[in-house]
């Protein structure tokens, strides 16, 4: 059995285990053993390449002066090629660095997803974590790859840099008529705030019933016990509805996935499908403005 072979090698690797003492009583303290493997090595290699290319691009902008680098780090930006370049390979200083860095960043994320998949299967789990992660991967791909290709310009993608990515978010919203009026953005924010709400509800509920053992969720799903009973009754009595130890995790996965998928659709449809979300909302009759102002 592959799992058995894997377990044996696991026992050998426990030599590398370390413990974080200050987490005692709050969370598990064991760190490692971490698994490298081929996909891990590939992910690490392409990530280091991405960081290296970004560092070279930033370094050129500050004349390789380390103090200037630290001082200007928040505003240092690698921009994608100008719109005139379309989807072509650009010279290094005019977006080539950005193209190379984005290529290796994308490869890193793909390798990382495969790595999580193989590790989940090797440990006897269903590949739900890589499936959940691929929702975030879809959002990334929509923003950095699919949307730029659809509108025929890498310039549409976000630059790399702390301020650059925030400014892109701002400009992208305003350019397409303010994302507050984008129904997919609304749905995504609903998923985001809903995720935080469910996380607070679930975390709070389990912490409140620790004394009754509600945190042993994998066992509680097989046969629910006092902790799960009290958790369920809390919500049933408060709001007339309760999840089960199993279904709360379906709610969790569903809301978190909605955030990423709806967000991705909101980005994809901006431009080719709807060039101005304000006018869309106006035509839909949901803005308080005078309706005559929104004729196309």
């Amino acid at each position: 059995m592959a799992t058995e072979v894997y377990r044996e090698s696991f026992e050998r690797r426990t030599k590398t285990v370390r413990y974080i003492r200050f987490l005692e009583g709050l969370a598990d303290t064991q760190v490692g053993p971490i698994y490298l493997g081929m996909w891990g090595a590939l992910a690490l290699f392409s990530y280091l390449l991405c960081v290296f290319i970004t560092a070279i691009g930033f370094g050129e902008q500050v004349g390789y002066n380390p103090i200037r680098f630290l001082r200007e780090l928040p505003v240092l930006t690698l921009y994608p090629p100008p719109p005139s370049q379309g989807l072509r390979m650009a010279p290094l200083q005019e977006g080539g660095y950005w193209q190379l860095a984005t290529l290796f960043l994308s490869l890193t994320l793909v390798f990382w997803t495969i790595r999580i998949w193989t590790r989940a299967v090797a440990n006897g789990l269903r590949p739900m974590v890589p499936i959940a992660f691929s929702a975030a991967l879809f959002l990334y791909a929509a923003i950095y790859i699919i949307h730029p290709i659809w509108v025929n310009s890498w310039n549409e993608a976000p630059p790399h840099g702390l301020r650059g990515i925030l400014l892109w978010t701002n400009h992208f919203s305003v350019k397409y008529g303010n994302f507050y009026y984008n129904p997919f953005h609304m749905l995504s924010i609903y998923g985001l705030l809903g995720s935080t709400l469910i996380l607070a509800m679930h975390g709070g509920t389990i912490l409140a019933t620790l004394a009754y053992g509600a945190h042993r969720e994998i066992d509680e799903i097989e046969k629910s016990d006092e902790g799960t009973h009290r958790s369920q009754l809390l919500w049933r009595w408060v709001m007339g509805f309760n999840a089960t130890a199993y279904s709360i995790h379906q709610w969790a996965l569903g809301f978190a996935t909605l955030t990423a998928v709806a967000g991705a659709l909101g980005v994809l449809f901006s431009g080719p499908v709807e060039p101005n979300w304000y006018l869309w909302a106006c035509r839909a009759g949901i803005t308080p403005a005078v309706q005559a102002a929104c004729a196309p």
């Binding site: 998923g191 607070a200 709070g204 379906q250 949901i286």
Partner: protein, 285 residues
């Protein structure tokens, strides 16, 4: 009733009433009533009733809003000249004050109701504490900040699309909220919350109902050690969950309450960085 519920209702009946907790120990169908349930019900129905009445029947006459389009309807806060006084003039924002008051009482009663039920079930108070965090957000934005700035007009209009318009304008009024560091921390924690939720939900679903295959908590630990180098554990993940969600709300409180009171321009806020003393020794500034 759930199959195991009778035993817990019996146990709840034996918990002594104290102050306003444990009064009106009645279940209506699956709902628990209780003193705070009555308060929440009365003010909740009153507040939402007034909101729908204003949005569906009063606002349309003023803004030519087609009847029953509650998505664009709104109740405006009092105009700036009203300041912090309590106006009884319906055209000057009385109904905004009324609905905000009802909502605040309802949210507070809902938190007390969660405390009440937690007491009856003999469990911790983490759920009402987490709800208290989001209640503090409502109080900060609608009550505390308007009081600090001396006018109710600083509150947001009560409506679906209008409150989005307000939020968008609020960000640009202080130059741009993307430069607000507390906004950045809050958003990071929000995305972090969705990320943690996704990981936790997927992890439990990936290991659930596989006992016959010998899958236990140990498999989950080994999976996380393998790919991430650390497994936070069954208790730890829920502590992380609680704090990520609660802190995201508390950070957004800060980003609101500092805008307009202490900071007028979040881009200018960062000027200190260029002129910070630690760059001097290196020949900058």
């Amino acid at each position: 009733m759930l199959s195991f519920e009778a035993k817990y209702r019996q146990e709840a009946m034996e918990v002594p009433a104290r102050a306003s907790f444990g009064l009106l120990k009645i279940w209506i169908g699956r709902f628990y009533l209780g003193f705070w349930g009555v308060v929440a019900l009365v003010f909740g129905v009153l507040g939402s009733g007034v909101w729908f009445w204003q949005v569906l029947f009063v606002d349309p006459n003023r803004t030519n809003n087609p009847l029953l389009n509650f998505i664009r309807g709104q109740i405006y806060p009092p105009p700036p000249e009203v300041g912090l006084s309590i106006t009884f003039d319906g055209s000057k924002g009385f109904w905004w004050l009324f609905v905000v008051f009802c909502a605040t009482v309802t949210f507070f009663a809902w938190m007390m109701r969660q405390i009440d039920i937690s007491r009856l079930l003999k469990i911790g108070y983490q759920v009402p504490i987490a709800f208290g965090a989001v209640l503090s957000s409502w109080v900060t934005i609608q009550i505390l900040r308007p009081i600090l700035l001396g006018k109710w007009s600083e509150g947001f209009p009560l409506g679906v699309i209008p409150h989005l318009d307000w939020l968008s304008a609020f960000g640009y009024r202080y130059y741009n909220f993307f430069y607000n560091p507390f906004h950045a921390i809050g958003i990071t924690l929000l995305f972090g919350s969705a990320f943690v939720l996704s990981l936790h939900g997927a992890t439990i679903l990936s290991a659930a109902r596989k006992k016959s295959e010998g899958v236990t908590e140990e498999n989950v630990n080994r999976f996380y050690w393998d790919f991430f180098g650390y497994s936070i554990g069954e208790v730890g993940i829920h502590r992380l969950a609680f704090w990520a969600a609660v802190l995201s709300v508390l950070m957004s409180n800060l980003c609101f309450v500092l805008s307009g009171t202490v900071v007028q321009d979040w881009s200018g806020f960062w000027n200190f960085w260029d002129y910070a003393p630690w760059w001097k020794g290196f020949g900058f500034n």
